[in-house]
Symmetry: none
Subunit: 402 residues, 2 copies
Amino acid sequence: MGRIIVVVVDGMGDRPIDGKTPLQYANTPNIDLLCREGITGQMNTITPGIVPGSDTGHLAIFGYDPYKTYPGRGVFEALGAGIKLEEGDVAFRCNLATVDEKLNVVDRRAGRIKDGKKIVEEIDGMEINGVEIILKSTTEHRCSLVLRGENLSNKISDVDPHSETKIWKSKALENTHEARRTADIINKLVEESYKILKDHPINKEREKEGKLPANILLPRGAGKYVEIESIKEKWGFKASCIAGGALYKGVARYLGASIIDVRGATGRLDTNLHAKVDAALKSAEQYEYTFLHIKGCDNASHDGDFRAKAEMISRIDEEVVSKLIDFDGYVLITADHSTPVFVKRHTSDPVPILFHGEDVRRDSVELFDEISVVHGGLGTLRGIDLMPIVSDYIGYYKMYGS
Amino acid sequence: MGRIIVVVVDGMGDRPIDGKTPLQYANTPNIDLLCREGITGQMNTITPGIVPGSDTGHLAIFGYDPYKTYPGRGVFEALGAGIKLEEGDVAFRCNLATVDEKLNVVDRRAGRIKDGKKIVEEIDGMEINGVEIILKSTTEHRCSLVLRGENLSNKISDVDPHSETKIWKSKALENTHEARRTADIINKLVEESYKILKDHPINKEREKEGKLPANILLPRGAGKYVEIESIKEKWGFKASCIAGGALYKGVARYLGASIIDVRGATGRLDTNLHAKVDAALKSAEQYEYTFLHIKGCDNASHDGDFRAKAEMISRIDEEVVSKLIDFDGYVLITADHSTPVFVKRHTSDPVPILFHGEDVRRDSVELFDEISVVHGGLGTLRGIDLMPIVSDYIGYYKMYGS
């Protein structure tokens, strides 16, 4: 049986500026070496024209139809934060934020508060209408919120107004008792959070220091946890995940992959790429499928920074791909979506794919970039096509018929 | 937000004769300029191998799944003829025709009668079994027929035998009261039309002049009107339609697009292309999405006239596309289906697509034709993929996930 390391360079796909995309502009001798020896193509992670979310894009890459298996973002964030979810839990992304006494949002990030952990302790463990509230601080103002109890639904709207305006009331998005009940609990929790937090000693201290108080919870992105067939059950092999960002760990954990924590893997441009690729090579001794997520390019794209994106790609070439050249297995390099620096958001432009291994067909493509791979032997795939191809090569193939 | 002009050259796709398709043979310096600066691909408007109708092909291009949203041809013809339809109306295409006393068709077009308007007045407004009959003459022998009343169905067969033989009885195509009732009403109406028209003074006059009488109605293509999500509701932006033919206006009206009437837009080879492109450029100041339909190539194809088709393409290049080169927005050029001049009917051969705009990825394709675009960066799309791609570029994107 074979082994594969799948490198997902988040947001790598782009559009040209002055005739070149960041991937065309970057210095990528190692990637291009693999390209000459491998097969390429392009991929619409969801379907043509549909902009992939970070969560749905990864579901597809792992071979799960995102339209059938997407539980909602909050579930991945909670799993990524290390919360052990139970069937029926409803999970949210949640910000600690600053509001005025009329509940107008002053800052959705509470001045990027650093000491969120102490604040959330006041709320974690509460009970509202018989439902347990689990609240865990992750980074800065970010938390993961979970409701645990009977008859809950994720078909409810956000409280976070996504801009500096009055907070929204959560509303049922379907006409069910469960949805109305869950929206009601969330609204009570938000109200309660303001009562508890506005006079919290940490906030009093912050105000004295001229900092914004973290005086309310703003939940968004409700998801409902249901158990799903693991990668091992669905595809037959053991998978691991190396990633800085909690979301990607959350998706991998949802699918039963092992999470390998790497010191210095930050999910930012300053991430320790050497440590990540070393961990991936080590993982490949034990796991047939090693997923290596590198976030930096997406951050640079959202900032509209062409040069930083191209430099990150050059670093990935030098620090990561150079070490994969002698790897005795398959290597796949792709992105989860495009994030053109000109647009500063995810777009639906297809992403390039490069697949390398001793017995892989070589196509005529010599440079790995969005334009050249159009002529690649893999053609234009969809995200969910990738895993069946990979699993066939590593020997865990799906035959239909006999 | 961006703006786009979508040019659909009806039936442009073809197969080679003596090594060249009409598009390859035509003189297209302006189209090829956009091609070098843009991205190309090919499109199966419905699905590979399925021959698109003029109606379903356009539904797909507007981003509506034709298998889920097709109401039947008659609906589009009625809307294109300016009839205001109500929920539940059943609409037909309908010819004024000539039959003998045994109801054998002598001429399906009643000698291409020019004075159809006076004839239909005798029938328009009748009532049969409590159902109102609306009949409107459009061009020559062509009419639009609408049944308005309770419990009607479009699941009935045509009366028009599509050849010079005895007229058909309309039959229920499903085992429902509504279908049997509607077929019955249609058969009564056809019988009644013969009784009323055979001795009509206009027909007596025509016979004296040696012309064929328009002595019967031959309905076909039943469709049932149901309200559908408009383009604005579904995609978020305002759309307009510039077209000569009633059908295309009908499809656009069905989807809530604004119809821009242009003097001299005939839907034939003699159409005023200058006026149409000027109207499109003006429309783009107000509408995010301007649809510009040019019919002539399809007419030449149905006539099997290679030279006329190639000349029409050259004219489109010179008179339309030349004016789009400096347009400050996106331009998309494609066809709704292929109509090879050798075959003289729609075929399922994919059609070429060209997409141009400042930030669009450029592929390596330099000539816009059926053969070259196979190497294009858009790959091979389906008709319904087009609208999501367009809407992402003009800023009204659909994200799945978060």
